[in-house]
């Protein structure tokens, strides 16, 4: 666990490097986290995924599976991997301020 400074605020991270406290998250922080993941600009399509992740997490307490993401977020598998190269579920969860998804799928 470590604390980093993002946009002048001290923010605690968990062991996976995701935000420890959901309440630390805001859209500006998301943009900074995205840059760390190599995504320079968050488009409307990125936000669709991020907002969907947050909504499911709020309801269920865990981030959605990649299957749920594919079927219900409005963004299909191919595009998900284009938007979040190197792992859409994991990367979008981090940018959304959520812990790493627990499921295998």
């Amino acid at each position: 666990m470590e604390t980093v400074e993002i946009l002048g605020t001290q923010i605690e991270l968990d062991d996976d490097g995701n935000l420890k406290n959901l309440s630390d998250w805001n859209e500006e922080i998301a943009k900074e986290l995205a840059k760390e993941e190599g995504i320079e600009e968050l488009t409307d399509r990125h936000w669709m995924v991020i907002n969907f992740m947050r909504k499911v997490f709020e309801e269920k307490g865990d981030a959605p599976s990649i299957r749920k993401l594919t079927k219900e977020s409005g963004v299909a598998t191919k595009e998900l991997y284009q938007l979040f190269p190197k792992g859409p579920a994991k990367k979008s969860a981090r940018i959304a301020g959520l812990p790493k998804p627990k499921g295998c799928i």
């Binding site: 990649i66 299957r67 598998t77 191919k78 998900l80 190269p85 190197k86 792992g87 994991k90 799928i105």
Partner: protein, 161 residues
Amino acid sequence: MAEPIEKVSIVVSHGSLEGVYPGLIMANGARMEGIEATLFFTFFGLDAIIDKRMDKLSVATVGNSAMRMPGGLKMPTILGAIPGMSRFATTMMSKEMEKLDIPPVREFIEMIHDAGGELYACKATVDMFHLEKEDFCEQMDDIITVGDFYEKSAGAQIIFT
């Protein structure tokens, strides 16, 4: 720290439901972690990408000494041969998998393909079973030899299932 895995080549050699899923779950899981994934279907594993068969894979209840009945009691292996037993086990397993958001085979193959995973059929088996390219689902990238498979697996960890 050890070097992270960047590429996996997964061989699927069995055609039963429980023979096919581990390979698919590992391939999809690899893509989710940003790891390149190649699937190579051989022998009865080909059924997972044969258009007319992929929706009808079933659990092998004969000869499976780890088989248990609902409730957890061990199932005498001889019961596995009773007509309808395999269908029953398949329905049960499919239901449980659906609860975990594990998709049916066809949808899973589409997901892995759309995620950038590559799917190949083994040429020796295709010839042996007298199959044609048209027999396969559209996600199948190519029919390749074992030599091609090793070439495509350069730098990958090879996993046999």
